[in-house]
Amino acid sequence: MESLTLNHFLTLSAILFSLGVFGVMTRRNAVVVLMGIELMLNSANINLIAFSRFNGNLDGQMLAIFVIVLAAAEAAVALAIILNMYSNLKTVNLDEVDQLKE
């Protein structure tokens, strides 16, 4: 068995990302969509950290930290929006929400 290369990680990250995309695209429940987004962010972080390692410096890791922090903030805001949406529209199903239209 060969040793691990960067491509392994990148491929993993690509698969994870695509799954995230699929989730975001197809799920009806806003919370699950949010989960898909988290998956995508995670895949990005894998990339960053892998690059960081194979570049020999910590810039990627630093960036990943910021991503994690922002993801937390994002999750908080997004959930707040979902709660608001729920209290106003009585639903969290995105296909029933088209308030953005006009």
Binding site: V24, M25, T26, V97, D98, L100, K101, E102
Partner: protein, 650 residues
């Protein structure tokens, strides 16, 4: 002396302008609405002009002329636009003539216009007109001549439309200005041709330039230029085919007709052609002669059947202007100028006389309603008769001298060109003389002789006041032969023909002096036969009129019936108005409507369609805005993918 004369000439020019400004801005507040002031200004102008004229007459030098130039516009190039005044014999005499008639018309108007509500304005307009006319007379260059030319158009517009409440007057004024403008455009193009060649507008410099062969284009262009310049005169002097405005212009007050449409403004065209006479090529002159001769004949036929006393005179004016133009065309320069002068006096006399008749008849203008007025209006009758005799070309009167000289010049010109169809031009002139005598005879017999046809108006008629008949007397005296030539049968020996000799052309390739000598020779040769034939024509014309309208030898209605097509043609003025109405006026309106339609429904339609298409596209694109978060994400991702693919492909 030069400076004094120039200053005096400028004073003559400015006085009417001052009169205009005073009358327009302060006239209403002056006692008697300022008529005395305007008349006084013009009287002063006349006296100064007379002084200038006497100066020139006493010097009696054919080449005497005074110039003053100033730079009007300098654009930093080697050329500049120089305006200026030039006083020579012709200008001095015309100056005196214009101011005299203007003064007399002012005087006459005091009574004639007395009840008008815009009395002060009227005198103002007269001043403006006189100013513009004097400007043309004094200009030494084409540019300022053109400027004053248009100002004359403006003042005639104002005066014809003076009684603007009358629809006809308003329409006539518009027509006059527009028709004149057609001619002016031609004139302006002519000026442009000369300008683009010489970069000067000064006439003397242009003449010198052409004489020295600096006109680099072919002689055809010189002909075209000449004809274009002549177009200005066609408009202003009411020559065929732009004569249609003049009869309509009779809607203006009668003194105005006398001033503008008989004596001065219409003479401006002739004066202008005289000023450019020497640069006209033989071909251009032929065109001018033919148009002049034709106009003289055509207008005379139109005058035969009119019933409005002023309209007869109007057509007669067109006809007489045709004579002058013809005279210039055939090279009888001094004869034409002579006729300009004599015609101004007797035609002004006729118009003012007709005004007196109209005034006495309480604004009745139809000659069929008049008759027997010689008893009621003796002074008017005598002066009118004298002027009629002059117009008809009877010996002993001024008109004979000049008209005869023109026709003789026409015969001379025809034989210079070897006869043939060239003879048609003087023949037309001669025929017109017959017709003139006839229609003037008709008018005088119908108005002053016979029994009154409208008893009521006749009974109320009475002789006009002194301010009105004094001008008549002055003008009729000026229509007598001794003032111009001691020989009643020839003007050749008179002071005018000697002071203002015929000029020789400067067009390259022509022996000017030789041509002039030969023309003079041939004209002289034709003199006696012309005298006899034209006297004969005049007498025959008068005699026919006498038998028809005095002796009632022929029933006029029956005559008209038997010559119906000819009668109608004459009565309807050869249908010119109708033809123009259908072609030019309608054509213009249609063109205007078409372009307005085009603008709204084609161009603006395209513009709005573009706007609509953009909006429609927007509506289409709006469909993508579903309001669903996931579709937005999908679009974003598709965009990313497209980018990917494109990056991969290229």
């Amino acid at each position: 002396m030069q400076e004094t004369i120039i200053q005096l000439a400028l004073a003559v020019l400015i006085l009417p302008l001052v009169s205009y400004l005073v009358q327009i801005f302060a006239g209403k507040r002056l006692p008697r609405q300022g008529d005395w002031l305007a008349t006084g200004f013009l009287g002063a102008a006349f006296l100064i002009a007379l002084y200038i004229a006497i100066h020139f007459l006493s010097a009696f030098d054919q080449t005497l002329s005074y110039n003053l130039n100033f730079q009007w516009l300098n654009l930093g190039k080697e050329w500049s636009i120089q305006l200026g005044v030039k006083v020579d014999n012709l200008a001095a005499i015309t100056l005196a003539m214009v101011t005299l008639i203007s003064f007399l018309v002012h005087l006459y108007s005091i009574a004639y216009m007395h009840d008008d509500s815009r009395y002060a304005t009227y005198f103002g307009y007269l001043g403006l007109f006189t100013f513009s006319m004097l400007g043309i007379v004094l200009s030494d260059n084409l540019f300022s001549m053109y400027m004053f030319w248009e100002l004359v158009g403006l003042s005639s517009y104002l005066l014809i439309g003076f009684w603007f409440q009358k629809k006809e007057a308003a329409a006539a004024s518009t027509k006059a200005f527009v028709v004149n403008r057609i001619g002016d455009i031609g004139m302006w193009l002519g000026i442009l041709i000369l300008w683009s060649q010489f970069y000067t507008v000064n006439l003397d410099e242009i003449i010198a330039g052409i004489q020295n062969g600096q006109f680099t284009l072919s002689n055809t262009w010189l002909t075209i230029g000449g004809i274009l310049l002549f177009m200005g005169a066609v408009g202003k002097s009411a020559q065929f085919p732009l004569h249609v405005w003049l009869p309509d212009a009779m809607e203006g007050p009668t003194p105005v007709s006398a001033l503008i449409h008989a004596a001065t403004m219409v003479a401006a065209g002739v004066y202008f052609v005289a000023r450019i006479f020497v640069i006209l090529s033989p071909d251009a002159l032929t065109v001018i002669a033919v148009i002049g001769g034709f106009t003289a004949f055509m207008a005379a036929t139109m005058a035969l059947t009119q019933n409005d006393i002023k309209r007869i005179l109007a057509y007669s004016t067109v006809s007489q202007l045709g004579y002058m133009i013809m005279g210039l065309g055939v090279g009888a320069y001094s004869a034409a100028m002579f006729h300009l002068l004599t015609h101004a006096f007797f035609k002004a006399c006729l118009f003012l006389g007709s005004g007196a008749v109209i005034y006495a008849m309480h604004h009745e203008q139809d000659i069929r309603e008049m008759g027997g007025l010689r008893k009621k209006l003796p002074i008017t009758f005598i002066t009118y008769a004298v002027a009629t005799a002059a117009l008809a070309g009877l010996p002993l009167f001024s008109g004979f001298l000049s008209k005869d000289a023109i026709i003789a010049g026409g015969w001379g010109w025809a034989s210079f060109h070897g006869g043939g169809w060239y003879n048609v031009v003087p023949a037309l002139g001669l025929t017109a003389a017959l017709l003139t005598a006839f229609y003037m005879g008709r008018q005088v017999f119908l108005v002053f002789f016979g029994e009154p046809r409208n008893k009521e108006k006749y009974d109320h008629a009475h002789e006009v006041p002194a301010v009105m008949w004094i001008p008549l007397v002055v003008l009729s005296v000026l229509s007598l032969f001794p003032l111009f030539s001691l020989n009643p049968l020839s003007g050749d020996a008179g002071w005018f023909m000697n002071l203002i000799p015929s000029l020789q052309t400067v067009v390259p390739g022509i022996d000017g002096a030789g041509k002039l000598t030969e023309l003079t020779e041939l004209t002289h040769h034709a003199h006696w036969s012309t005298v006899i034939s034209s006297v004969l024509m005049a007498l025959v014309g008068l005699a026919i009129a006498f038998f028809i309208y005095m002796k009632n030898a022929v029933d006029t209605d029956k005559l008209a019936q038997s010559l119906r097509p000819l009668y109608l043609m004459s009565f309807n003025k050869w249908y010119f108005d109708e033809i123009y109405e259908v072609t030019v006026v309608r054509g213009n309106i249609v063109l205007a409507k078409v372009s307005a339609f085009f603008d709204t429904f084609v161009i603006d339609f395209l513009v709005n369609t573009t706007g609509f298409l953009v909006g429609f596209f927007g509506l289409l694109v709006r469909k993508f805005q579903t309001g669903k978060v996931q579709s937005y994400i999908a679009f974003a991702l598709i965009g990313v993918l497209v980018f990917f693919v494109l990056k991969g492909v290229f």
